[in-house]
Symmetry: C2
Subunit: 422 residues, 2 copies
């Protein structure tokens, strides 16, 4: 399949440079970026981009996709009540079939927000895998073992899902320090060593989590994990709102990724991550939406605005955390955080994970600065097309993921009704 996208503005996020011209896709790769070119090639499809912006798609570096089933189910509650009385009892009723349906719903939403890959930690890996592959949607699964889980199961999944369709891969991960007994942490560290692989987890989301860890071990979650060898081959943490000076040293020494989730952290009253300090000390940064039960939407535009606006507020400096840095976090940062080194930017040879931003919308006018328009004014409404792995999965409000959205809604709602009635 060859596609020619012409008459476009083309943004390289790493170079933070916009050129004008056209971009060709051959199979799942970008085969040409440059001036308008008359070619002998015939294309399967040619699309006039009409001066709109082509940019690398967003990479959602932390989510629990199937939690769409709890969207607007239990908001406006104190955190403990929300988690223990609402979320956990319903999650206990999940099964593979439900995970499949709720994940399909999440994928629709990701596509409307220009997101083509998600770093997902949740249950029923086989069904999650199928939902992604059936949709043609890229994902990196993240282990989330905890409690009585066995490291062997994590290893089995790690081996299995890194050998199937390359549109899905799998990273070692634990839920968090606070849900993992020390022997399990050590077992996962042994896996990291065996496979020379990075490890990821929720880390330092709330002050209470950090305080309780210090109460248990006399050190922070990051230190506990580091001291037990979890980070020998890198990895990262989701949230990272409360990091000590020593934690910062560890993040820098090991090149760890801090994945920030500002909507979720505000809405659950957790905190604001020290993004400016991280930027200043060159900590690797990416952005995630977290799950729909806490956020409640899966929208990178909202997250990008919050990343920068909250830093301006928290530091008292309107110049803090400029737009270009935020866009890199949402695109190439996210890609690298989850090990996707070949779909992090628009370059010849890279995988074609591309979005078209509709500049013919009032919130994108005037055209002083397109990058700032995207970060400060952008919304889902501006996503005109989402291309994942060289295939158009969403364009002009229509989805092309092998199933009609109405059917996915119907199935998700039916599954929700059934689950809640049990």
């Amino acid at each position: 399949m060859t596609i020619r996208l012409y008459n476009a503005k083309i943004l390289s996020v790493e170079e933070m440079r916009i050129s004008e011209g056209e971009l060709w896709i051959e199979d799942n790769k970008i085969s040409y970026i440059g001036d308008r070119k008359d070619s002998d090639c015939t294309f399967d499809r040619e699309i006039d981009i009409r001066g709109n912006l082509l940019m690398p798609s967003f990479k959602n570096a932390h989510s629990h996709s199937a939690m769409t089933f709890l969207r607007s189910y239990a908001d406006d509650l104190p955190l403990q009540e929300w988690l223990f009385q609402k979320v956990f009892p319903q999650e206990a009723k999940l099964n593979g079939d439900r995970i499949y349906k709720f994940t399909r719903l999440a994928i629709l939403e990701y596509l409307t927000s220009g997101i083509t890959s998600v770093f997902d930690m949740y249950f029923y890996a086989d069904d999650y895998y199928s939902a992604c592959v059936d949709s043609g949607f890229r994902s990196v699964m993240c282990g989330g073992i905890c409690g009585d889980d066995k490291a062997q199961d994590l290893e089995d999944r790690f081996v299995k899902f890194n050998r199937l369709d390359p549109i899905v891969s799998y990273k070692l991960g634990i839920h968090s320090e606070y849900l993992c007994p020390l022997p399990l942490i050590k077992d996962v560290a042994a896996l990291a060593e065996k496979y020379k692989a990075p490890v990821y987890m929720h880390n330092s989301e709330t002050q209470r989590e950090v305080d309780e860890c210090i109460g248990r071990y006399g050190k922070t979650p990051t230190e506990v994990l580091y001291d037990n060898g979890i980070f020998e081959y890198g990895g990262g943490g989701f949230h990272c709102n409360f990091l000590s000076d020593r934690d910062f040293e560890i993040f820098k020494e090991k090149g760890l990724w801090a994945v920030t989730n500002p909507s979720s952290n505000l809405k659950l009253a957790s905190g604001i991550a020290p993004i400016c300090r991280m930027l200043g000390e060159n900590v690797n940064l990416a952005i995630g939406t977290d799950g729909a039960a806490s956020n409640n939407c899966l929208d990178m535009f909202r997250e990008m605005f919050l990343v920068t606006a909250l830093q301006k507020y928290a530091t008292g400096d309107a110049a803090a955390c400029p737009a270009g840095d935020v866009l890199k976090m949402a695109v190439s940062g996210g890609a690298k955080a989850m090990g996707l080194y070949d779909c992090d930017d628009l370059k010849v040879g890279k995988i074609a994970d591309i979005i078209e931003i509709d500049l013919s919308q009032p919130n994108m006018q005037p055209l002083h600065n397109i990058v700032k328009n995207v970060v400060y004014s952008g919304s889902k409404q501006n996503v005109k097309m989402t291309v994942c792995n060289g295939k158009i999965l969403y364009r002009d409000g229509e989805f092309f993921i092998g199933e009609a959205p109405e059917k996915i809604y119907e199935q998700a709602n039916a599954a929700v009704r059934e689950l809640l009635s049990e």
Copy 2:
């Protein structure tokens, strides 16, 4: 003109109740809400709403519409540099023609966000008025005199613009305490007395503003204005981030409206308004976007999410500031704040200022709680139709405001280029 909207979910925001059925519009009023009804009437237009949500439109209770011309022109700068080196010098080059063009651009954006009225403080009232009337867009203009301005000019505009097309009205207003010498404040208070009219202004946006006022007068801005008679017939303040106990007493005694602008306040590092305390003490609340130079987009969905999420964060309580309260602020609160008592809800006899929210989008699924979906997950992408004063001004991405959006963009961009080159 008669329009029948059938097959709808219909939300009364004041009752916080959703019914199913149909809604009729006759001229600019709602003439029927109820069950599906076979009628002898013939309608000029009948629209199948397909189970989507009809709700009263959003009311943007504070903006400077024509500031669209500075969107993404000067972000990521310290506040003083932004204001004095970037905003003020460019604003000095505005003229009536430019205000008209930049306002038309803002109106397009309001419509995409389901906003049908804006409480606007800016320059060149005649041209602003024309932009609104030509677009069929409702607006309440707010006086913003300051410095050497004369109260007589304010009075002239107040009288003039309350006698023309009723789609635009005019409220007494001053820019702020800090830009108004005391004699001018007293003159405006005399106008409030003469017309038994409320007065509005920017108030307590930054701590510095409050501190400097205390330095000048030994009291807060709210106290200075109150003590000089500005609030004898009510009114309100924009921002209101830093109110003292005494200020709270004044707001309650006079029934003043606090209009919160969370995106702008974060992005300019100003602060977070004490919305939870205001809710608890029954201070009247509304929401505004502020202008596009500071926000940078004119989107009520972003503001609504921030109003609640920032309160949850600031109070440390995930239960704070529930969704229903926020929706009321954005709809009926905003309407009442600007004196629009007849387009604040969906009721027979009210003016038809209505939006259709597309529930067939992934971010609105599943349908646990539609109000929470709108507040926590909603985006411009969900606005399928915007009806102002009984007329459809926006539907399915198309605008019907008497001018093609491409022309408005072209004219706005040309005016920006010309202005910046002077």
